[in-house]
């Protein structure tokens, strides 16, 4: 099988999706991220691994947190980082995606971090680069359409492993708007690859993708049933801006049925952790008392996200 993310030695050359990525590779990324966590605790928050490399952040879609964490990760590896705000640059003058890439390659780019509204755009760039023989240039998918957000999936896996140590006995409940969520898709692929026995998708019929059971998850429409006995609860953001048509009666109605409150959290295991990929809508999918409560690991997720992105970048740059 030809996996465009791996070279013939099985090393990671692009990170496009967690789907089909072998468990050993995912495990290696998580292991590599561990020592990077402590880099942030030092006087000089930098290591010289990517010195002299140029990383282009290509964000065709808005994002503050993800772009910032990629920028911090690259800078802590001593790379030079160029942020391109594509919305206001060449593409609005009619340049195609691949022409933009070719121009940046001509500027000696070493790595592209790509967010795009269209599923498959990072894939297209990776294929284009290998067709052009540019094997030394790497692509990281920072979120494409509804398809994948692999570094978010990896930082979620890292967070779960940090608090729960292993996956083989866990029940993980993913709650809310799975339909629009590339985060959920990446996390589900990662969890099943690493052998998580029970992954649950909780949400109204209108916000769950059709045939989501084929990914190996159990579907619950009743939140109380779905949360019972959970070790990990992943709350998703209600992506109102992507909703066309009447998927929901109202945000208030959604919170009543699928918002995480202290009462509902009490149905999960006493040591359950609560995660959220951000940005949070307080009072829509999560109650403030839970978001700021002792089960919440939402801010550690952000910190771990930098270490995980450092691990991915340094593994790519050395393949």
């Amino acid at each position: 099988m030809n996996n465009p993310q791996l070279n013939d030695k099985g090393e990671l050359i692009h990170l496009l999706t967690l789907e089909g990525l072998p468990a050993e590779v995912i495990g290696r990324i998580l292991d590599t991220a561990v020592p990077f966590v402590s880099v942030a605790e030092r006087d000089v928050k930098k290591v010289p691994l990517l010195r002299g490399k140029t990383v282009f952040n290509l964000f065709f879609e808005n994002s503050t947190r993800t772009r910032t964490t990629f920028e911090i990760a690259a800078k802590r590896l001593s790379a030079d980082v160029i942020n391109l705000n594509i919305g206001v640059s060449s593409t609005s003058k009619g340049e195609t995606l691949l022409d933009t890439i070719d121009n940046l390659v001509a500027m000696n780019a070493d790595m592209f971090v790509v967010r795009h509204g269209q599923s498959g755009a990072p894939h297209l760039i990776a294929r284009h680069l290998s067709a052009a023989g540019q094997t030394g240039i790497h692509v990281i998918n920072a979120g494409d359409g509804r398809h994948a957000h692999p570094t978010q999936g990896l930082l979620d896996l890292f967070t779960i492993r940090h608090y729960k140590h292993e996956f083989s006995r866990l029940t993980v409940a993913i709650v809310g708007d799975l339909l629009h969520s590339r985060v959920a898709r990446s996390l589900i692929h990662g969890l099943t690859t690493l052998g998580t026995p029970e992954v649950r998708a909780i949400g109204p019929q209108t916000l769950l993708p059709a045939a989501i059971e084929s990914l190996g998850v159990h579907v619950f429409h009743d939140m109380a049933d779905g949360l019972r006995g959970a070790d990990v609860i992943v709350m998703l953001r209600l992506q109102s801006e992507r909703m066309k048509g009447a998927l929901l009666p109202s945000a208030g109605e959604f919170f009543k049925h699928y918002g995480l409150t202290q009462d509902k959290l009490a149905l999960a295991k006493p040591d359950a952790i609560v995660m959220h990929p951000g940005p949070m809508n307080r009072g829509v999918e999560i109650d403030s008392a839970v978001a700021d409560g002792k089960h919440s690991v939402i801010l550690p997720q952000v910190t771990f996200g930098i270490a995980v992105r450092m691990a991915v970048m340094s593994m790519l740059a050395s393949s």
Binding site: D31, V47, S319
Partner: protein, 171 residues
């Protein structure tokens, strides 16, 4: 490959190293071992030497000069320096001193934590062959082996240290 006889016994070399360091290193010197062999040696030396020496461990993977050629190896450990590096007196400890490139990487990393007052270098084995201008302050034993061989320090289940010779770059 019966070169084992050419090597000194690791425990004997360690005893010799400890004897040279005793009374010579600062009473409050921190012992910082380079993973993995140097870390084992630092633990042993902390038990053998009088005084209360802070222990630290350093993984130089993020600072190696052959990263772009060889990449990151699979098990990078976490550098732990649980003392104030700025103003400290440090004895850097490694198992085998050869080209000097690990020492260069380790010193670079230490300076990202602070400015030590001094750094000395203690090694179990000096095998010559330097490519950088480093000389150890304290040496357990000096040996010479062929260029295509590596000297490897192993730790047995009972904690005893043992030296072996392996073909270099086999991995």
């Amino acid at each position: 490959m019966n070169r084992r006889n050419a090597l000194p016994d690791a425990e004997t070399a360690l005893a010799a190293l400890a004897e040279r360091m005793q009374g010579a290193i600062a009473i409050d010197a921190a012992l910082v071992g380079i993973y993995s062999g140097g870390a084992w040696l630092a633990q042993r030396l902390a038990e053998m030497l009088p005084g209360n020496h802070p222990l630290g461990y350093i993984d130089v993977s993020f600072y190696r000069d052959d990263y772009s050629k060889k990449g990151l190896h699979a098990n990078v450990a976490t550098t732990q320096l649980p003392f104030e590096v700025g103003g400290s007196r440090i004895v850097l400890i490694d198992d085998v001193l050869y080209t000097g490139r690990s020492v260069r990487a380790a010193i670079n990393e230490l300076f990202d934590y602070g400015r030590p007052d001094s750094i000395e270098l203690a090694v179990l084995i000096d095998r010559g062959g330097r490519e950088l201008p480093f000389e150890p302050t304290y040496v357990g034993a000096r040996v010479s082996v062929a260029k295509n061989l590596s000297i490897v320090l192993n730790r047995q289940l009972d904690g005893r240290l043992e030296l072996t010779v392996e073909a270099a770059g086999g991995a």
